[in-house]
Structure formats: structure tokens, C-alpha cells
């Protein structure tokens, strides 16, 4: 297979990489660009651990081809914190103990940020439906939902 040359923007920076035509964007991010924050839980769109924002839409990067990213803008978990300063969501996840093993956490954070960007004042039901595509085997979800609600409240202040 001949490799495909991709130019994209990741977290605001221009990047380029060569990928196989059948390689997922998740693999391109992790293996070509060294951005290993996005996780592979399932590889089939079920768990949301690989969530990224592609041209403004929340998607599973395991269900996108690396080749499709040419000319497009991607936001990953690596773009969430501002240098050493955590994003309020990250801070609240820590305070609420909204993670245990942590493999689901990057996906939840990226998905929760996409929600708050769209709707700064979501109610609990909206949060639970929005995050229904993100699976967590450890926390039981409640602390995650509380952390997102608390963040939203703080960010609205």
C-alpha cells in the first residue's frame, strides 16, 4: 500500500504525516504524531475513549480514517490544558474523583468540553444523554456528571 500524505491542524498547530489508507485517525494521532492522550477502548465506535473534535464536531477518531483529516482541524485532549494550567473540567474531575483507572477520562473530557462549548448550562439529563457514547467501567458515572455540572456552574460565573 502506498502511504497518503496528510496536512491537518491539530490543536491549532499545522501538522503533516504519512498514513496507510486504511489507518484510523486514532492510530495516526497516536502512532504518527505521538499524541497518545486519545485512547482505544474498542476501536468500533462504542466506548468514546478516542473522542476528538473534527471541524467542530465531536466524533470517535477510531471511526475516521487518518487520510480523511487532510485539510481539516482536529482538537484532542492534548489541547485542553493551557500549558501547566488545567482546564476547569480537568480540575473538577480531580476534585470530584471522577476518574479511577483513567482510560475513559480523555474521551469524557473532550466530549464534556464539546457539550459546554455548545450549551454552557446543560441540565443533568442533557449531560447524561450527551455523554451516553462514553463508557466508564470504574466510576459509575455519577461523579463524572457532578464534575461536569460543577464545571458548568463555575464557568458561567
Amino acid at each position: 500500500m502506498s502511504k497518503i500524505h496528510v496536512n491537518a491542524t491539530v490543536n491549532g498547530d499545522a501538522v503533516e504525516y504519512l498514513c496507510e489508507p486504511d489507518e484510523s485517525l486514532l492510530d495516526s494521532l497516536r502512532d504518527r504524531l505521538g499524541l497518545t492522550g486519545s485512547k482505544e477502548g474498542c476501536g468500533t465506535g462504542d466506548c468514546g475513549a478516542c473522542s476528538v473534535v473534527l471541524d467542530g464536531r465531536l466524533v470517535c477518531s477510531c471511526l475516521v480514517l487518518g487520510a480523511e483529516a487532510d485539510g481539516r482541524a482536529i482538537e484532542t485532549i492534548e489541547g485542553l490544558a493551557d500549558g501547566d494550567e488545567l482546564h476547569p473540567l480537568q480540575q473538577k474531575f480531580l476534585e470530584h474523583a471522577a476518574l479511577q483507572c483513567g482510560i475513559c477520562t480523555p474521551g469524557f473530557l473532550v466530549a464534556a468540553k464539546a457539550l459546554l462549548d455548545k450549551n454552557p448550562d446543560p441540565d443533568e439529563t442533557e449531560i447524561r444523554y450527551w455523554l451516553a457514547g462514553n463508557l466508564c467501567r470504574c466510576t459509575g458515572y455519577d461523579k463524572i456528571v457532578r464534575a461536569v455540572m460543577d464545571t458548568a456552574e463555575e464557568m458561567r460565573r
Binding site: M1, I4, P21, D22, S24, G43, T44, G45, G48, S51, L54, R57, L58, V59, C60, C62, L63, V64, L65, A67, E68, D70, A111, A114, L115, Y129, W130, L131, A132, G133, N134
Partner: protein
């Protein structure tokens, strides 16, 4: 495997027609990439249609709506005119998968995947939607109820692609609805799905009705008798019973872990009544 992202329908169709091996169209990729990952599909050529700008928009004019084949589910919900003209179609599409899936999966892909349980298809059938199909010889129109021929198979010939799904304009006093039965509240495959579209006169008498059924036969169905049972009525109990009976009569489901034959037939009748009532309330402006 080769990956192509052509800029026009003509290029896409020529590339597909020229490919001697197995080719697949990539729209949202939520079926295709899973099939590739699990070894169910090993295409030699993938044609990504999302760079064809004409296919990425919803257009609306006097004759109705044209939903490009690369339009994702989330775009339907964001389109105010479409959501108010065809709330049943939009709710059927938005039931599919998570937020992440909605950002990718397309209604056209849901149709082309040709699953008997596809959520959007019964609603599209009820809406009298028509798919525009392009091939090397030009385009043709296929009514959605004629599109799926057996589980996983459709009328698409080699080298053909769906370019849009077209919904008619809505008269006054018309609406639609879709509901499905699943054993949980979110993100599952329909055990039974029912779409109903009705038009009424200003007095609330039904002048036209269509009923689409999913997951109860090898292909999604248009049940003409179920629609006919509603026409001329103001949706009294007798009309609803007749509609349900016709829907149940049309079922030829399978037994599987998600539902037995008897259960699916019974639920098809119950849902037909419920969804018809919901479409009617919407048409009357009550909901």
C-alpha cells in the same frame, strides 16, 4: 487498498465504475470502518464522498428538502425548517447512536447499509422520501420503500451512489412521527420501528397517511393498508385498530435474542397506534 476523495459526483462514479475489485463508499464511516476493523469488509477502493460540497448540505425550496448523501445526523437536527416540517424523520435519524455517531453517521448511509432494522428508513418511507442515485449513465430516482431488496442488499448497481434523499414539501396540517421499541433507553438496535406520516384537512380529517415498518421483515416495509385505514377518519379508535391490524398483518419477523416473532408482531400493532396518534397530534398543532 486505495483511498480517494473526489471533488465531484462524476469523478466518484467513474472511479467506482473503473474499479475491478471491491469498492465501498465512505460517508460517515460508522458502518464501513467497523466492518473493516472486524474483517467483514476488505475493500480495494474507498471513495470518500465528503469532499463533494454538493453532497454535504441540506437544501430547501418550494418542492421540498434535498438532504445530501454526506450530511450527518446532527445536521438534520440543526436545520430548523427540516425539523419542523419533518419531525418524525429527524427524530428517527437522531435516535441512531451516540453524540459522536451523530457527528458522522448519515441518513443516506443508514439506507445504503440496507439493514432491516435501520431506524431512519421506516420514517423515510412514511415521508414518501425518494433517493437520487447517480451512475455512469446519469441519475435515477428510487422510492425509499423500493431501495432495500434483502438484508444488506439494495438496488444500487456497481458504480452507483446515492447522492441525496429528497423529502416533499409539507402542506398545512401535516406531520410525522417515529418510535421504536428497544429494551433500554438509549443506543440500541430497533426490535420494532414504526414511522407514520399524516395530512389532514382544516377540520382534522385525515386526507393522506403512510405507515413504514422496520425490523419486522427482511426489509423495511411500506404498509399501504395501514395508511389507508386512517384516511377519511379523525383518528377514532376503530381507525387505530384497523391500522394496527394491517401493520401486524404485514409483519414476517424473525425470532432472535432481542424479540420473538409473537412479541414483535404485537409491538408493531401497539406502536402503529401510538405513532399514528403522535403524528396526528403534531399535525393538529397539539404537540
Amino acid at each position: 487498498m486505495r483511498y480517494l476523495a473526489p471533488a465531484s459526483v462524476g469523478e466518484a462514479v467513474s472511479a467506482l465504475a473503473a474499479e475491478p475489485g471491491l469498492s465501498r463508499i465512505l460517508a460517515g464511516g460508522t458502518d464501513l470502518l467497523v466492518q473493516m476493523k472486524t474483517g467483514l469488509a476488505e475493500p480495494d477502493l474507498i471513495v470518500d464522498i465528503k469532499k463533494i460540497s454538493d453532497l454535504t448540505e441540506i437544501r430547501c425550496d418550494g418542492s421540498g428538502f434535498r438532504i445530501g448523501a454526506a450530511v450527518c445526523g446532527a445536521q438534520l437536527a440543526e436545520h430548523g425548517e427540516l425539523a419542523s416540517a419533518w419531525p418524525g424523520v429527524v427524530e428517527s435519524v437522531n435516535l441512531i447512536g451516540s453524540t459522536q455517531i451523530q457527528g458522522r453517521a448519515t441518513p443516506a448511509g443508514n439506507l445504503c447499509n440496507a439493514s432491516p432494522a435501520a431506524d431512519s428508513v421506516p420514517a423515510l418511507i412514511a415521508a414518501a422520501a425518494v433517493a437520487t442515485v447517480a451512475g455512469t449513465g446519469g441519475t435515477r430516482e428510487v422510492a425509499v420503500e423500493d431501495f432495500v431488496t434483502s438484508p444488506g442488499r439494495s438496488v444500487l448497481e456497481n458504480g452507483e451512489i446515492v447522492v441525496s434523499l429528497n423529502l416533499p414539501a409539507r402542506p398545512e396540517n401535516a406531520s410525522d412521527a417515529y418510535e421504536r421499541f428497544i429494551p433500554r433507553t438509549e443506543m440500541d438496535i430497533a426490535v420494532v420501528g414504526v414511522g407514520v406520516s399524516v395530512e389532514t384537512d382544516s377540520d382534522g380529517r385525515i386526507t393522506a397517511a403512510r405507515v413504514g415498518l422496520g425490523a419486522v421483515a427482511p426489509t423495511p416495509l411500506l404498509v399501504e393498508d395501514a395508511g389507508r385505514a386512517l384516511v377519511g377518519t379523525k383518528l377514532d379508535d376503530e381507525a387505530l385498530e384497523k391500522c394496527a391490524a394491517a401493520a401486524m398483518e404485514a409483519c414476517s419477523p424473525i425470532n432472535d435474542k432481542r424479540g420473538t416473532i409473537d412479541f414483535r408482531i404485537k409491538v408493531a400493532g401497539a406502536l402503529a397506534k401510538r405513532v399514528a396518534a403522535r403524528a396526528y397530534r403534531r399535525a393538529r398543532g397539539e404537540q
